[in-house]
Symmetry: C2
Subunit: 147 residues, 2 copies
């Protein structure tokens, strides 16, 4: 039997969230959190609408997933996010002890890899899933902004 619940399957859901951000004139980043193949949080960047630098997609999904689970640790959960997390989001993910992080496009300027942010030792990382789609959305956003 074919398993439909691939990383690409869930990243498509995160990309749908990123498109919602795009439509609201927000930097288009989307995130979801999954446990046992069930989506328990969906969010997209809302820093402009909420006037709040902390309103990154990942932060909202961490809070929402913890609410759903009734506990603050995200053990057994996977975060899918279209862009590599920043220092703040990687720092929050560190505290959450999340089991897996899957991201799309790399952020070579402000991503956690370049910035050297530490993740929890139990967290595994997968990168580059639907990276072109995520990067294209960012490029379209900033091209439109420059007009």
């Amino acid at each position: 039997m074919i398993n439909p619940f691939t990383d690409e399957y869930f990243m498509k859901k995160a990309l749908q969230e990123a498109e919602m951000a795009f439509d609201k004139d927000e930097i288009p980043v989307g995130a979801i959190i999954v446990i046992d193949n069930k989506i328990i949080a969906r969010s997209h960047n809302l820093t402009e609408l909420l006037n709040d630098v902390t309103a990154h997609a990942e932060m909202q999904s961490i809070t929402a997933a913890a609410n759903f689970l009734g506990g603050k640790y995200l053990i057994g959960c996977t975060l899918y996010v279209t862009l590599e997390p920043c220092q703040m989001c990687a720092g929050a993910l560190y505290w959450s002890q999340i089991s897996k992080i899957v991201y799309g496009a790399s952020d070579e300027n402000r991503g956690f890899v370049k910035m050297g942010t530490k993740l929890h030792p139990k967290t595994t990382i997968v990168s580059g899933i639907l990276a072109d789609e995520a990067a294209d959305l960012m490029k379209r956003f900033f091209a439109q902004k420059r007009k």
Copy 2:
């Protein structure tokens, strides 16, 4: 004329917040944000009550101050926090472009200095203000927890 608005003056307000966290059985960290000698945000750690790893004192104060100001950048603001910020909070402060951070006790395990988190180049740092008071509160908290 004596200026009453010293770093110690404002750190005492942050310590009052930390004591409120202590009384709620939360790790006792408090924060305030000040602009032009006016306190525009007060908060204390609520990670247990809210079941949310992102509910650090600093994160709440960043959100509250941006709400007060009607804009997400905290230029001209000073954060007073009783404990050295972690990676997540330092990462949020980086995005906020806050002008000054004053902290009390150092966190030699999980503070941003040890972790290597980058702050905004325009942010100045002052450390060690009422550090003993902040550290004593933490020690009392963890001593009580071990009982």
